[in-house]
């Protein structure tokens, strides 16, 4: 590996979140131009690794599920990690996930490593050699971090560069919108909002850092680590001349949080 990831997703290890991981992967595959067979291989293997975390990393409970996706000239790397028991090299590995998960990952990836993480947990690092792959500039900055710190159900998403953000963010937001019972017209509004955010911020070297959350008929979207004044500027004007702020128009409530050099812009999008 070594290269900086293009997608970093941190979420709770619940079954419904595996679909988010898959959609993020599909988005990156679209940006890189992978064909359907390659994507199916990747998606199956990554799903197995994520399901293993969901089913086995935290016993009956929940904990963080962390996914990093990196496109390089040699292919695509996917890292699926937990902070619990994980699926490290254990004698009873065959008992995990009805015994099929690990052999599936091994069969579909070109290289796989199961590692213990320092401080607890384990990770599965998969490499998929792909002729169609190409390198993308990865994330320069680390974790999203809002002023209040994310709750356990928050979904942290970091994306770079803009061309990956452009295909991944709308998919992730659409998937969350399904949970919030959004209708299609509101979902397409969300996609426009994603486009606007990427157009305004996505070319910013460090990447786009977001915290996402779902409440009934509401979707919360917080853009973190904005330089001072940036959030206000976005709410005054974003998009073409004559329309004010597209970002403000496409969301129902806007809050600027934090002070000093780094601020967060919190947007709430509601389903009427």
């Amino acid at each position: 590996m070594g290269a900086a990831p293009n997608v970093r997703l941190t979420l709770s290890s619940r079954a419904e979140n595996v679909l988010l991981v898959r959609q993020a992967l599909s988005g990156l595959a679209e940006a890189v131009g992978l064909d359907a067979v390659a994507l199916n291989d990747l998606s199956t293997a990554v799903t197995e690794a994520a399901n293993n975390v969901v089913l086995h990393a935290y016993g009956e409970g929940e904990g963080p599920l962390e996914v990093e996706l990196t496109s390089s000239s040699s292919g695509l790397d996917a890292l699926v990690a937990d902070r619990g028991r994980g699926i490290g090299p254990r004698p009873d590995a065959e008992a995990i996930s009805d015994g099929i998960g690990l052999p599936v990952i091994q069969a579909l990836s070109d290289r796989v490593e199961f590692r213990e993480r320092p401080g607890g947990g384990s990770e599965v690092a998969m490499h998929f050699a792909l002729e169609q792959a190409r390198p993308l500039d990865g994330l320069a900055r680390l974790e999203p971090s809002g002023p209040s710190g994310p709750g356990p159900q928050a979904i942290l998403l970091a994306l770079a560069p803009a061309e990956a953000a452009r295909t991944v963010l709308p998919r992730v937001l659409s998937t969350l919108a399904v949970r919030a019972h959004f209708t299609t017209d509101r979902i397409t509004d969300l996609q426009l909002l994603a486009d606007a955010l990427v157009a305004e911020l996505g070319t910013d070297g460090g990447g786009l850092l977001l915290e996402l959350g779902v409440a009934p008929r509401n979707l919360e979207l917080q853009v973190d680590r904005l330089p001072e004044g940036r959030a206000r500027a976005l709410l005054e004007r974003s998009g073409p001349d004559g329309f004010g702020s597209l970002i403000a128009r496409l969301s129902d409530e806007q809050t600027i949080r934090g002070s000093g050099p780094l601020q967060s812009l919190r947007l709430r999008v509601a389903q009427a």
Binding site: E94, D98, T184, Q191, L192, D195, A233, P240
Partner: protein
């Protein structure tokens, strides 16, 4: 029966249980076809499970199960119990290999986008039908239920509608009286509205390059704050069409201006 078979399979994998080993001995050493059949029956749940996992978006499903079964037979014939690995660790890559080869050879990579396009059109049509019936846009869950797709497939379809020009402006659609009209036809009789937007003093020079209809849609959504569904009803096009027009117009404007907006320090 299936449940028992699965759990037996799972347990047997760790040790390679005695009965499985016995069946392999009967088949591989003595050529007993009944033993081979028993092995197939015993591990068929594994083949089906792999088909479900790997062939998620493949249709028809049963065709792929056949391919997986072929992989299972190969694995049963070639597995060497002497090497000390459980059968599953040999069978999984063999079965997956068979399915991967099938996908490559059958041009699945070409079929899938085509299938996805057809799904996108179905989703578009269902979206319109449900909107017309209820007067409001459906949720993805409603679309998924209506079309018997899973929500992931509907999201993929929405993405396809958005990403490609699969749904052309001139694609025929069925009008209310079942006569076939095209989107192009239905955008008429709004001339006065176009003028109104044209006269808007805030219209930027980039905006002036857009067709009047696209400007109107932008105006209705972002100045008058109508919902996409309301705009669709006013102009007589579908909501999906409104969303695509909005997206395309905004993208065109971004390309045209292509300069960082005011107040941006990069």
């Amino acid at each position: 029966m299936t449940a028992t078979a699965t759990s037996t399979t799972a347990r047997s994998s760790a040790t390679g249980d005695a009965e499985t080993l016995h069946l392999f001995a009967r088949w591989q050493r003595h050529g007993d076809p009944a033993a081979r059949e028993a092995l197939v029956e015993r591990f068929m749940p594994l083949a089906r499970s792999l088909t479900r996992r790997y062939g998620r978006s493949s249709e028809p499903f049963e065709d792929l199960v056949q391919v997986a079964s072929l992989g299972l037979l190969k694995a049963i014939d070639r597995y060497d119990p002497e090497r000390g690995f459980p059968f599953q660790s040999y069978a999984v890559p063999t079965i997956l290999g068979e399915m991967r080869r099938y996908f490559r050879d059958s041009g699945w990579a070409v079929h899938v986008p085509r299938g996805a396009q057809e799904r996108a059109l179905k989703v578009r049509d269902a979206q319109e039908r449900l909107s017309n019936e209820t007067g409001r846009a459906p949720s993805i869950g409603q679309l998924a239920e209506y079309l018997e797709l899973d929500t992931g497939e509907v999201i993929d379809a929405l993405q396809a509608i958005r990403a490609y020009e699969t749904v052309s402006l001139d694609a025929p659609r069925v009008g209310h009286d079942d006569e076939v009209i095209s989107y192009g036809d239905s955008i008429g009789g709004e001339d006065s509205r176009y003028e109104l937007v044209e006269l808007d003093a805030t219209v930027s020079s980039a905006l002036a390059h857009l067709p009047a209809r696209d400007r109107l849609v932008l105006h209705l959504r972002f100045v008058e704050d109508l919902t996409q569904t309301e705009i669709a009803q006013q102009i007589g096009i579908s909501q999906m069409q409104v969303s695509r027009l909005l997206r395309r117009s905004l993208e065109q404007l971004r390309t045209m201006t292509d300069a960082p907006p005011a107040g941006t320090a990069r």
